[in-house]
Amino acid sequence: MNRLATTFNRLRNSGEKGLITFITAGDPTLAATVPALRHMADAGADVLELGVPFTDPEADGASIQRSSERALVNGVTLRKTCEQVAIFRRENEVTPVVLMGYLNPILALGLEPFAQLASQSGVDGLIIVNLPPEEADELKSVLERVNIDLILLIAPTTPLERIKTLATSGSGFLYYVSIKGTTGADHLDVSDVERKVASIKKVTDLPVSVGFGIKTPEAAAAIAKVADAVVVGSALVETLGSATALEHALTDIHGFTSALKRSIRAC
C-alpha cells in the first residue's frame, strides 16, 4: 500500500475529510519549496500536490500561470522538482506527495527514467492535465511497476459512461474538476458539485477529491460535505507569491492551511 492509500484509509476510518494543498515547485524561490511543504503538512494538509512548472500551462488560470513563470525564472525543472520531494522525504515519510503538471517534460525525460526518478524521490501520485486515459496506457503501466498512482481528472462535461471508464482506469483517487474553467476561476456552484460527486461515487470505490476554484475555508467546508477531499491551490499560490519575505510567506500558508483544515473538520 502506498502513502496515498494509507492516508485515504486513515481518513475513511476516522470519518474525516481530507485536505489537499497545492503549490508550484520553486515558487517564489527554490529554497521556499521544502519549508512550504513542511508547513502545510504540519498545519494539517493530508496530501501535498506539487506543481511542475511548464512554459505553456494551458489549463491553468492566472495565479498558477504566474507561479509557473516565477519558478521557470528560478530555473526549476521536473528533475529539480523531484529533488525537492527527495529532500522533503528525509524529514517526512508519511505525507503523500502528488506531482501535477503537463506531459512534455515527462516525455523529454523519458517515461521509464521519470518513473524511476519519481519513485526514488518518494513521489506517490501523478496528475497530468493534458493526458486523457486514451493516450496514457504506456505511462500507466510504467507507473504501476513503481507503485505510483496515475490520478485521473473528471470534468463537469464528462458523460456518465465515460466516468465509468475513468473510474476503472484511474488509481489513488479521482479528481473532480469542480468548474468548467481553469484553475482558480470564480464560479463555483456547490450544489452542482454535490450532484456530480454523488453520481461519481455510485460507480467507484476510489476516493473522490474536488478542486479548481475553492479558495476559502468556507468553500472548502461546503465541498468537504460532499467529497472525500478538497484541493486548494490558487489561493495558496497567491498567498506565497504576495508575501514580502519567505518567513512571512511560510507563516501565512501555515495559518491558511490550518484555517482550511479547521473548517473542513467542523463541517
Binding site: 525543472t77 523529454a108 525525460l109 486514451e134 493516450e135 462535461t157 465515460r162
Partner: protein, 404 residues
C-alpha cells in the same frame, strides 16, 4: 469531391493518429466537445446539403477557384524552371485561411454554438474568423499575442471593423503559441456556448484532419488546373509551413502522385545555426503541445522554446502532426529559409510580377528560387501563394527606415 468520409486505411486513424503523431492531449473538460465536433463533422461529410453549402460559399463568397498563374518574369529572373503561383492571396480576406473558417462556421451552426473564438498570429486567421462570425451574426473573440498585435496592425483594425473583440495576450513569448494557450483557456470556460476555430492543421483530433479536408480544395483545384493549363502534373510543389494548413491543403490531393516532389518550407529565422528560428521539423524533437504529439521546439527539460520568425504566421514552436508523419515517411521534404531570404523574395515578386506576397508565402517563394537554379528548363514548380502582403507593408517599411 474532396469532402468525403475516409476509408479505414486512410490516415488519421479513428483516434486521430498519423503513425505516432497527432492524438488528443487535452484537459478532460474538452474531451466531450471534441467528441461532439468529431461526430458532427463525420455526419456533415455524409450530408450532401453540407457539401453543397460549403461549395457555394467557396464560389460565391470566397471567389474560388483561385487562379493558377504562371509567374514568367519572376521565373526568368531566378532560374530555369517554370514557376506557377496558386493564387490563394486572391481569396476574400486575402489568404487561404478562409477556406477553413467557412467550413468550421457551417459546423458551428450545426452545433448551435453562437460564440466563436480563435487564435491568430499574422492576423489572417483572425480576420477570416471575424469575417465568418460577422456573417453568422455570432459573437467573436480573437486571441492575439501583444507582439503580433504590434507587427500586424492593419489586420487588428480589420478584425475590429468586422465586430470582433481582439484580446491581447501578454504571457510567454506574446505570440501565436500564447494566443493558442489563452484560446484553450477560454474554450474550457465557455465550452457550452463556444466553438473554437483553430486556424491550422494543429491541435487535438479532429482539427488536423478537419482543417486538412477543408484546405484540400487548394490542391484539388491546383491538380485540375495543372492538367488543363500545362497538360501535366507539376514536378514540384512548394509551400510554407507554420502550423502547415496551406501546405497540407496543397499537398494532400497529390500524395499518391509519386512523381510529384513536395517541399514544405519552414521559417529559418536568423539561421539554423542559431536558436532564433521557427523550424520544429528541421531543428526540433517530438513532444506534446496544444493537444497533439508532433515535432516541437523544446529544450532538454521539455520546456517549450520561444520561436523566432520575421513572419508572425510562421512564428510557432509546433507543427501539424500530419507534417511530422510526412517528414518521417520521407514523402515530403522540409527545408528552411531565413528572414533575409524571405524578404528578398518578398521584394522580388512585387517588382517582377506586381504581386505583393505575405511574408509567410515569401518563404515558399524564396525556396522556389533556390530550387529553380538547380532545375532543368521546362520543369514545373507550383508555389502556394498562401496570402497577400498588405498586412506586412508596415513592418517591411520599418525595416527600410520608412514610417507609414
Amino acid at each position: 469531391m474532396f469532402l468525403r468520409r475516409k476509408g479505414d486505411n486512410e490516415l488519421p486513424d479513428s483516434t486521430g493518429h498519423f503513425g505516432p503523431y497527432g492524438g488528443r492531449f487535452v484537459a478532460e473538460t474538452l474531451m466531450s466537445a471534441l467528441d461532439e465536433l468529431t461526430r458532427v463533422y463525420q455526419d456533415a461529410l455524409d450530408d450532401p446539403t453540407f457539401k453543397a453549402e460549403f461549395k457555394t460559399d467557396l464560389e460565391r463568397y470566397v471567389g474560388r477557384p483561385s487562379p493558377l498563374y504562371e509567374a514568367k518574369r519572376f521565373a526568368a529572373t531566378v532560374g530555369k524552371a517554370r514557376i506557377f503561383l496558386k493564387r490563394e492571396d486572391l481569396n476574400h480576406t486575402g489568404a487561404h485561411k478562409i477556406n477553413n473558417t467557412i467550413g468550421q462556421a457551417l459546423l458551428a451552426s450545426r452545433m448551435g454554438k453562437r460564440r466563436i473564438i480563435a487564435e491568430t498570429g499574422a492576423g489572417q486567421h483572425g480576420v477570416a474568423t471575424a469575417t465568418v462570425a460577422a456573417r453568422l451574426g455570432a459573437e467573436c473573440t480573437v486571441y492575439m499575442g501583444s507582439k503580433d498585435i504590434e507587427r500586424q496592425k492593419p489586420n487588428v483594425y480589420r478584425m475590429k471593423m468586422l465586430g470582433a473583440h481582439v484580446q491581447s495576450v501578454d504571457s510567454g513569448s506574446k505570440t501565436l503559441k500564447d494566443a493558442m494557450n489563452e484560446a484553450m483557456r477560454d474554450w474550457v470556460t465557455n465550452i457550452d456556448t463556444t466553438h473554437y476555430i483553430i486556424g491550422s492543421v494543429a491541435g487535438p483530433h479532429p482539427y488536423p484532419v478537419m482543417v486538412r479536408d477543408f484546405q484540400s480544395v487548394i490542391g484539388e483545384e491546383c491538380r485540375e488546373q495543372c492538367l488543363e493549363q500545362i497538360g501535366q502534373l507539376p514536378d514540384a510543389l512548394v509551400a510554407c509551413v507554420g502550423g502547415g494548413s496551406n501546405a497540407i491543403g496543397l499537398f494532400y490531393p497529390f500524395l499518391n502522385d509519386i512523381n510529384v516532389e513536395m517541399i514544405g518550407v519552414e521559417a529559418g529565422g536568423e539561421g539554423m545555426h542559431t536558436t532564433r528560428h521557427a523550424a520544429p521539423l528541421s531543428g526540433g524533437t517530438p513532444g506534446v503541445l496544444h493537444g497533439a504529439n508532433t515535432y516541437l521546439l523544446a529544450d532538454e527539460d521539455g520546456l517549450i522554446l520561444e520561436p523566432h520568425s520575421i513572419s508572425a504566421g510562421l512564428d510557432y514552436p509546433g507543427v501539424g502532426p500530419e507534417h511530422a508523419y510526412l517528414k518521417d515517411t520521407g514523402r515530403v521534404r522540409y527545408e528552411t529559409v531565413t528572414d533575409e531570404e524571405a524578404l528578398q523574395a518578398f521584394r522580388l515578386l512585387s517588382e517582377c510580377e506586381g504581386i505583393v506576397p505575405a511574408l509567410e508565402s515569401a518563404h515558399a517563394l524564396a525556396y522556389a528560387t533556390k530550387k529553380s537554379e538547380l532545375c532543368d528548363v521546362e520543369d514545373v514548380i507550383v508555389v502556394n501563394l498562401s496570402g497577400r502582403g498588405d498586412k506586412d507593408l508596415e513592418s517591411v517599411a520599418r525595416l527600410d527606415g520608412v514610417s507609414l
